[in-house]
């Protein structure tokens, strides 16, 4: 187990390094002068001032030198300073991260809670119209854009007179109001996840139902419920862990739009304002942290996977 763990962690290191490199390179895509682009047309500067600014930001040095310095700084946990607010990018991200994390966790809980049972029911509903209905339903769930669903939820709840959706409050201040503000955004995010999980679970359960050990279990007279619970689900639900981990990336991306729809002060709003204001260090920071989070979540699910199913330790 320890060797397996070590191998997985070692495998994640080059991915993180690659992610840092990509984030560094994105800013170099700027056609022309990043500094000029940032300053825009309103700010008039003399060539001397520009030169001075360039020196301050280290933009006058060779690209590889800037790259090495960036790597060293990121390794030390220094993500730079916001160009707009002069606040530390790391602190800003740390203050926003809990909102997005809570949103993602709630969405995963809802998605698993809805998707897994639905998948099991769909798998055991045979091949007739009922099965087709389930399949169409999951496809519809996959097709509805989460940010539109969110907008419709807002519209619907205001039509129903539920005005008190409320603004965001940290859960440690008022758990009730926090949940009231987070519930609809989480639902909007969870529907797509539930639909996709349902498809996986259905396929997985159908496959396991055809296995010989299930036939054996039935042959020895075990009831349908016991077969399903003890033999089918325990094997069929293992891949679900991986799917949830993999979907986290989409959740983090989807959270950007959902936070904008519901006005939640998370990482999504942060990155959007960074994009609109051309706050490049902030942008780099958020994109990098998200990518690293995604790698870590996938690593955790891999480890969990190996723990749940001891057969999977690779070599």
């Amino acid at each position: 187990m320890h060797r397996y763990l070590l191998r997985r962690v070692a495998g994640a290191v080059p991915v993180v390094w690659g992610a840092v490199t990509v984030v560094f390179l994105i800013i170099r895509l700027v056609p022309g002068d990043a500094l000029q682009l940032f300053l825009g047309t309103q700010v008039e500067m003399t060539p001397e001032q520009m030169k001075e600014l360039r020196r301050v930001f280290g933009l006058d040095r060779p690209v590889w030198e800037q790259y090495v310095e960036y790597l060293v700084r990121v390794a030390q946990g220094d993500l730079g300073v916001s160009l707009r607010t002069a606040r530390s990018v790391r602190e800003e991200i740390v203050s926003r991260l809990p909102v997005t994390a809570e949103l993602a966790v709630l969405a995963v809980l809802l998605g698993v809670g809805l998707g897994v049972p639905a998948g099991v029911v769909a798998a055991t509903s045979g091949k007739g119209w009922a099965a087709m209905m389930w399949s169409v339903m999951s496809l519809v769930g996959l097709s509805v854009p989460s940010f539109w669903l969110g907008t419709m939820l807002i519209l619907g709840s205001s039509r129903l007179g539920v005005r008190a959706l409320g603004t965001y409050v940290p859960p440690w201040e008022d758990p009730g109001r926090n949940l009231a503000a987070m519930l609809l955004p989480a639902v909007a995010l969870a529907v797509g996840l539930a639909a996709s999980l349902m498809r996986y679970v259905r396929a997985s359960v159908v496959e396991v139902l055809g296995r010989e050990y299930v036939r054996t279990a039935r042959a020895k007279g075990l009831g349908a419920g016991a077969v399903l619970g003890r033999h089918v689900l325990r094997n069929a639900l293992i891949p679900v862990v991986t799917v949830v981990g993999f979907q986290m990336g989409y959740l983090l991306g989807g959270a950007v739009v959902i936070e904008e729809v519901f006005g939640l002060p998370g990482m999504g709003r942060l990155v959007l304002s960074a994009v609109l204001q051309r706050d490049y260090p902030m942008l780099q920071g958020v994109v990098l942290v998200t990518a690293i989070l995604f790698v870590v979540v996938n690593l955790l699910t891999d480890v969990l996977y190996g723990w749940i199913d001891p057969r999977i330790r690779y070599d």
Binding site: V30, T151, V271, Y280
Partner: protein, 274 residues
């Protein structure tokens, strides 16, 4: 394939075909109507003149929804076309050749997988500036790793088939083997991936436009229509409902088509939903 399934696949294909037709024709037919402001008819409900009502500038909502199909289809087919071309070529080549190139390409794909596509697209749009071309290019790049994986897996399985060995024994060149044996076998999974990615691309384009980084008003796209419409949805809910329904129907069409293709090519196969 069961009859219902066939019917659903046909419906998906129909929706996609209709949307393509609308994307080509609507801007020619309804461009003026989609942009013409009528101050005497702001935020009207559905009527004979305006089947879906009007927006906050009195523009005809139906025309705008129809015209909005164009950026959606342009970005979706452009990005997925790019990803297919790039990903399939690279994937088949490295899967067939193996070795260091294979290893390296997989590592690069791993890194690109670590970024949520939408976030990467936003970052690049911030740097390159919002334009349909940039969005298409970025999304194409974001979808490429998935195609590399699918094509590579197909090439790997074909590589060790006996008919490939036979072809080689008969003196066929590597290029001929690639073109005649490996590529055709990699086609079905790639086609399935194409239809799945198309639905994702439609969603991404509208999300980016919704955030104000894609198609810029007054040119209509489903994303920016929803973003404008939701400010007035208390008085004119149609403005927020219509573009979303258009998105959902088109994405559902792509998904139905992709599902059908999947079952057609690999009836017992378990589908990898992304």
């Amino acid at each position: 394939m069961p009859r219902v399934r066939r019917w659903l696949t046909g419906a998906g294909a129909g929706v996609v075909a209709a949307c393509l037709l609308i994307a080509v024709l609507a801007p020619v037919l309804f461009w003026e109507r989609a942009l013409a402001m009528r101050t005497e008819a702001l935020l009207r409900g559905p009527s004979w003149d305006h089947p879906l009502g009007t927006d906050q500038f009195g523009r005809d909502l139906l025309s705008r929804v129809l015209v909005g199909a164009r950026p959606s289809m342009l970005v979706a087919f452009g990005a997925v076309g790019l990803a297919t071309l790039l990903g399939a070529t690279v994937g088949v080549a490295v899967g067939y050749a193996g070795g260091v190139a294979d290893h390296l390409v997989l590592r690069v794909a791993d890194v690109l997988f670590a970024f949520p596509g939408l976030l990467l697209a936003m970052a690049v749009m911030a740097v390159m500036g919002p334009s349909l071309g940039n969005l298409t290019a970025v999304l194409g790049l974001v979808y490429t790793p998935q195609f590399v994986r699918v094509a590579r897996a197909a090439a790997l399985t074909v590589r060790s088939e006996q008919y490939v060995e036979a072809a080689r024994a008969l003196g066929a060149s590597e290029l001929r083997i690639l073109a005649r044996h490996v590529a055709p076998n990699a086609m079905p999974p790639i086609l399935v991936q194409v239809s799945l990615s198309l639905s994702l691309a439609v969603l991404s384009e509208s999300a980016v436009s919704f955030l104000g980084l894609g198609v810029q008003p007054p040119v209509p796209s489903w994303g920016n229509m929803l973003s404008e419409g939701r400010r007035f949805m208390e008085v004119a809910p149609w403005n927020a409902v219509a573009p979303g329904v258009a998105m959902a129907v088109v994405v559902l069409g792509f998904n139905l088509l992709g599902d059908g293709l999947q079952e057609l090519f690999d009836p017992r196969g378990r589908r990898e939903v992304v």
